[in-house]
């Protein structure tokens, strides 16, 4: 059993009571809600005649269903409009802050809470969305919940939980040029598998993690769930504190110093005990691409789609299913596979540094003929910051569409979706069958820079080949 880890410390501080049956009632410090998983929870609350216990610890935004071309109300899709107006009504009725469209604060829930300074070290964070693990980047214990649990948090600001084991994922070295946090997490999930994290929290630590920016740490923790771990976290440090200082909801003045003192005490102790530990070397990570239908089916861009004999027997059935679905042959190189649609955005990779990395590749080049490429900033703040730097212009000039913020084609609940058998290069987090809005659509997950490279060449491309000659404007044709 773990002891002395950040997870243990935060867990102990948030324990409310032991419940019959052995689970623990855990206080939720920050509850984030959105339009998709909250309406039924509010309805259940209403049916039970219960108030919202801590509306001041609850923050709402709208992200999953919003269109990214025109956000004028009412939305063209009446169902989407109904979902947003239901959220607006619930927030007004219960006194919950809504970061709505045009507020300057709207965006993907896992992008806005960090950028507003809502997510802080040592908190418990819950949201009806599996990518809530993102907030663990700050040294928070953050996890996704279902709608019944959203109801429970609304009613009691707490949850019935079982304590997880803690696996430390220690990463030595340093990521190479053209290699990003997205590549690291795809590499980790490929190595450990998509179910290895069930029952665990993942602590990401080591020299390579210490060097990552907050936005990179968010990408890493965001996809802990794709490895089966409901929460992932990074110990807070100077990079965390520097990111938070001056954010809208961050403490100021004397309170800042008190916060800093406490936050500094939260990191896992040097002699902390972990239930498990695995080690990686960042220098051995290459740009990654998924070839299959789970996020664990990834390979380095210079590798080939695995053949059956290179896989464990237990992995073969789903690998065969994946090759059939993806229309890829075992043994073929992934580099050079043609793509149709290129999507840059999502809670995994829709932040300013992601857009910068993609823009650096797009600058002075042009999207290949026949490729649809679009950029969806993670939030209104990200969009405005990117525009202030002229990134929208760089993308537009290169033939990308520049859109309004939202979840967009990560899960295609809005009009952005694949058609038929289209194949996407996507900076999102899931390559499940049908994920991007077409029941037969195909997804190749990769970093935003790799998506930009694919957009330029029209094919899966090792972005490192474009980095050395970014100064030379080039136009690729299929």
């Amino acid at each position: 059993m773990s002891s002395g880890t950040l997870y243990d410390k935060v867990w102990d501080l948030h324990r409310v009571a032991d419940l019959p049956g052995g689970s623990t009632q855990l206080f939720v410090g920050l509850h984030l809600i959105h339009e998709v998983t909250s309406p039924q929870a509010f309805a259940a609350l209403h049916d039970k005649g219960l108030p919202v216990r801590c509306p001041e610890r609850t923050v709402a935004t709208v992200d999953h269903i919003v269109p990214t071309i025109s956000q004028t109300r009412p939305f063209a899709d009446p169902l989407a409009e109904e979902m947003l107006s239901t959220l607006e009504r619930n927030c007004a009725n219960y006194g919950i802050v809504l970061c709505g469209l045009g507020s300057g604060r709207q965006g993907i829930v896992h992008v806005i809470a960090p950028e507003l300074g809502l997510t802080q070290p040592g908190m418990t964070v819950a949201c009806g969305d599996s990518h809530t693990s993102t907030h663990g980047a700050f040294g928070a214990i953050a996890f996704g919940i279902g709608t019944s649990q959203v109801r429970d948090v609304l009613a009691s600001q707490s949850l019935a939980m079982n304590k997880l084991k803690v696996r430390r994922i220690w990463v030595d070295g340093q990521l190479g040029s053209g290699v990003h946090a997205k590549d690291l997490i795809l590499h980790v999930i490929r190595s450990l598998g998509v179910k290895a994290g069930v029952g665990y929290a993942y602590e990401f630590a080591g020299p390579a993690i210490d060097l990552l920016s907050m936005e990179e740490r968010m990408t890493l923790c965001n996809m802990a769930i794709e490895g089966g771990a409901r929460c992932g976290y990074v110990n807070p440090d100077g990079i965390t504190f520097a990111y938070l200082q001056g954010r809208f909801y961050a403490p100021i003045g004397e309170a800042w110093h008190r916060a800093l003192a406490w936050w500094s005490s939260l990191a896992s102790d040097p002699n902390a005990v972990f239930d498990d530990e695995v080690r990686f070397d960042a220098a051995s990570v290459a740009p990654m691409v998924t070839w299959g239908i789970t996020p664990g089916q990834g390979i380095a861009v210079d590798e080939s789609v695995p053949t059956a004999d290179s896989l464990e027997p237990s992995e073969r059935p789903i690998a065969e299913e994946a090759c059939r679905y993806m229309d890829l042959e075992p043994g073929m190189a992934i580099e050079g596979v043609p793509v149709d649609v290129c999507f840059i955005g999502s809670c995994t990779n829709g932040r300013l540094s992601d857009l910068k990395a993609a823009a650096a590749i797009a600058k002075g080049r042009h999207v290949a003929q026949g490729i649809k490429a679009f950029v969806v900033p993670g939030s209104e703040q990200v969009a405005r910051a990117a525009e202030a730097e002229g990134l929208d212009g760089v993308f537009r000039k290169a033939g990308f569409e520049w859109r309004e913020p939202g979840c967009s084609m990560c899960l295609a609940m809005n009009p952005d979706r694949l058609e038929g058998r289209q194949i996407s290069a996507s900076s999102s987090n899931r390559n499940f069958k049908g994920r991007q809005g077409s029941s037969r659509g195909r997804t190749l997950l990769m970093s935003p820079a790799m998506v930009a490279a694919a957009a330029i060449t029209g094919r899966v491309t090792d972005v490192r080949k474009l980095i050395s000659n970014t100064a030379t404007p080039k136009r690729f044709h299929q």
């Binding site: 501080l13 049956g21 989407a80 009691s156 916060a259």
Partner: protein, 210 residues
């Protein structure tokens, strides 16, 4: 087809009876159980008809959930990491509204497992060595009736009996009828206040969200 004759789970869940069907394959994610386009709703009511919509379309009527012999079945047998991916409770809601009242498999994704528990649907595991044999037994006679007894943690039919495992906490919650956690959590408000009074971020450097 949505089966409305079987009431949704309520009170103590000590047994689930009915016919069984199986879905082979690891890592069946919640996007497959209920594609995202069906999440555009403010009620769960219609989801029973939409469960596995895309998989069913692909198989043109031969998906287990479409076979006549499985209509009305209430026990779903799966492989490993079932329900991975999105936290959408719409997935177990869709299964429940189709008629599923218990799942048995090698393993379940964590959020899915918790969502099922919150609906009173047990997710029991069976030893790896036994899953193939159990699947064969289920497939051999889809019309046979099974009984899942939570007290004894056994799945029984006329042809045999299988040992299942349920974690002790969820088992206790299901047997006692306390799987709907809201009332228990609300009842601890005094303890909640004590916890809140000790949290540095609510006291030493509080920043109101309003």
């Amino acid at each position: 087809m949505t089966i409305e004759a079987i009431p949704f789970p309520h009170g103590s869940i000590d047994q689930v009876r009915g016919r069984a069907l199986m879905l082979r394959g690891d890592d069946i994610d919640t996007d497959r159980i209920i594609p995202a386009r069906f999440l555009k709703c403010v009620s769960f009511e219609a989801l029973g008809d939409q469960v596995f919509e895309d998989d069913r379309l692909e198989l043109g009527g031969s998906h287990p959930f479409d076979l006549t012999v499985h209509q009305g079945a209430s026990i779903l047998v799966v492989n490993d990491n079932f329900g991975c991916g999105s936290s959408r409770e719409h997935a177990p809601q869709a299964l429940m509204r189709w008629g599923i009242r218990a799942l048995i498999g090698q393993g379940f994704a964590e959020i899915f497992y918790g969502n099922c528990l919150a609906l009173g649907i047990p997710c029991a595991t069976v030893a790896l060595a036994q899953i193939d044999a159990l699947q064969q037994a289920v497939a051999a006679d889809p019309s046979q009736s099974w009984g899942f007894n939570l007290q004894t943690q056994q799945l029984t039919s006329a042809t045999g009996s299988w040992d299942l495992q349920l974690e002790s906490g969820p088992l206790e919650m299901l047997l006692s009828g306390r799987w709907d956690a809201t009332s228990q959590l609300v009842a601890q408000d005094a303890a909640l206040k004590r916890t809140m009074a000790d949290l540095p971020y609510l006291n030493d450097f509080v920043a109101s969200l309003h």
